[in-house]
Symmetry: C2
């Protein structure tokens, strides 16, 4: 029997899940709705039912060893989701404890989605041989997972690694966290859309993006416009890389990582975001760190990086217990 | 025979040293000149000679188990001092290797002075029961040692934890590192002097500090003036705490520490610097971290914190080897 774990990636709209073996292969994967459930217990019953169904064709071939969960505001120490603004469930949800009732005896571990991505990178991805690195997810917001000496940094409370909320600009752009000027309001798939709109207001040059409403505009469209030479789109990437790169220089002064991996919607723009980020990071680094820190694309497939990350978390816990 | 280690704290002007037992008592301590030696080998011979002399009265009573060294630009992985701007010795000095020739068989360990202070806080000071904390030294510059999960963060290259060089103000004050706008140009014993001078230029109110040249002025004088109600001195502390506190809020978003300890010249101003730092840190924290992070004075005696830190480093290495 092949050993495997269940990886669950809880997002605001969908929950993705998969059966992940020790080598990082997804033996089965699918998704359910998150947003349609106002009650967590109902959601969990439906989710675990769907997972059981997806696993049926593997019956007798695999032995499930553990469950890993990546979720917004996931607390590794407590196994809880705490006051996540983009989920329907208020307060503190004891997710790991509730899942453990369905799977008695299994190791259940939970952390936030970006931390899970970092563990995914370490266990299955480009950071296999690294001890010190950071993963930055550039989606609707900016998430981060920091690894120091081969171990994910959780901090005193399980909530370390919120680089999306370092301050870039005092009294700057409104942020979803209720404050102003946070990094994720500038450097994320949403942030670059805001930057395009700001540039359309500031500049008088032509741009194909002038015909697009804010709601229609996606990071992918900005990327495609930039590849066609659109000056507003190109400047938006440059500014985004400038803000991200100069802030990452400060982050390097904290943990001196070997590499910083980019993942998620905006990272799919590849060189368009990597190049200015690298350039401005180098310009802002303390000389002692110059030319030492790689900016890389995550080697996890964007499609199921969250599921692989959650699976990697489960494997990581099992390996630690040995 | 009592077990002890040698703790050596190499500064730009003086080198302090002491014989430190397992409980953090200094059984003997003294200092030599650093700046008078242009040749490292001569310096080391004189230093180790002086240490031997200081230990003579302990002969037969102690057994030396290891040597710990704190030094500017000290590299823990390599045991080297690398291109330290305020030392006379250029390039890369293999300090641990050279000391090992005098003490064959002993464990020799080296790190930078702020990292040594953090280990001192963990082994002998106020962080004995903490796993996640940060030590900030506010002297001529701003040094930092970051502890995550009970282990000091060294990073890929041994140089992690340079919070003095995160950027506060793009194109801001000149910094000793050759760049502009670094935190230590504002938040340090030197930084607050610069802030006083800036305020004396900006404001028209009276101040006892108007009679003082920049060279005469010390952080202690500013502290004493503030205690007498001098408005410029009080505003200087408020501004320093504002800059330090708001940057520490960003640092908390990296490693989520239980406490941040302040140490060194400017920390001797106690509440004058602690209170505004705490206030502005809280104002700038992501809500999830609010009211969780203590700002504390180091409980190591300022006089020999460096020696105790270096001694703690040596004990820490010996404990790890067990």
């Amino acid at each position: 029997m092949k050993e495997a774990v269940i990886g669950i990636d809880i997002g605001g709209t969908f929950t993705k899940y998969g059966i992940v073996d020790r080598e990082g292969n997804c033996l089965a994967e699918s998704f359910t709705n998150t947003a349609t459930h106002d009650n967590f217990d109902d959601y969990l019953r439906d989710l675990l039912g769907a997972i059981e169904k997806s696993m049926q064709f593997l019956k007798g071939q695999i032995e499930i060893r553990g469950v890993g969960i990546g979720a917004p505001n996931g607390n590794y120490y407590k196994g809880t989701i705490e006051n996540a603004v983009n989920l329907n469930w208020r307060g503190v949800i004891p997710v790991a404890e509730k899942i453990a009732r369905y799977y008695p005896g299994l190791t259940i571990s939970l952390t936030n989605d970006a931390n899970a991505a970092a563990i995914g990178e370490m266990v299955f991805g480009g950071a296999k041989d690294m001890k010190d690195f950071i993963v930055i997810t550039l989606g609707t917001g900016l998430g981060s997972g920091i690894v120091v000496g081969g171990t994910l940094v959780y901090g005193q409370d399980g909530f370390a690694g919120e680089l999306g909320h370092v301050i870039v600009q005092p009294d700057g752009r409104d942020c979803g966290c209720g404050r102003k000027g946070c990094l994720e309001a500038y450097a994320s798939a949403t942030g670059i859309r805001r930057t395009v709109y700001w540039l359309l207001a500031e500049r008088m040059i032509d741009s194909e993006l002038r015909g697009m409403s804010f709601n229609e505009l996606t990071a992918k469209m900005i990327s495609e416009a930039a590849l066609r030479g659109d000056k507003i789109a190109l400047e938006a990437f440059d500014r985004t890389g400038w803000i991200l790169g100069s802030k990452l220089a400060d982050t390097v002064a904290h943990t001196s990582p070997e590499a910083i991996f980019l993942l998620g919607g905006l990272a799919n723009s590849r060189e368009l975001i990597i190049n200015p980020t690298k350039k401005y990071m180098e310009e802002n680094l303390l000389p002692i760190y110059c030319n030492k820190v790689k900016i890389l694309l995550s080697s996890l497939p964007d499609m199921n990086a969250g599921v692989l990350g959650a699976g990697a978390l489960a494997w990581n816990e099992l390996n630690r217990k040995k």
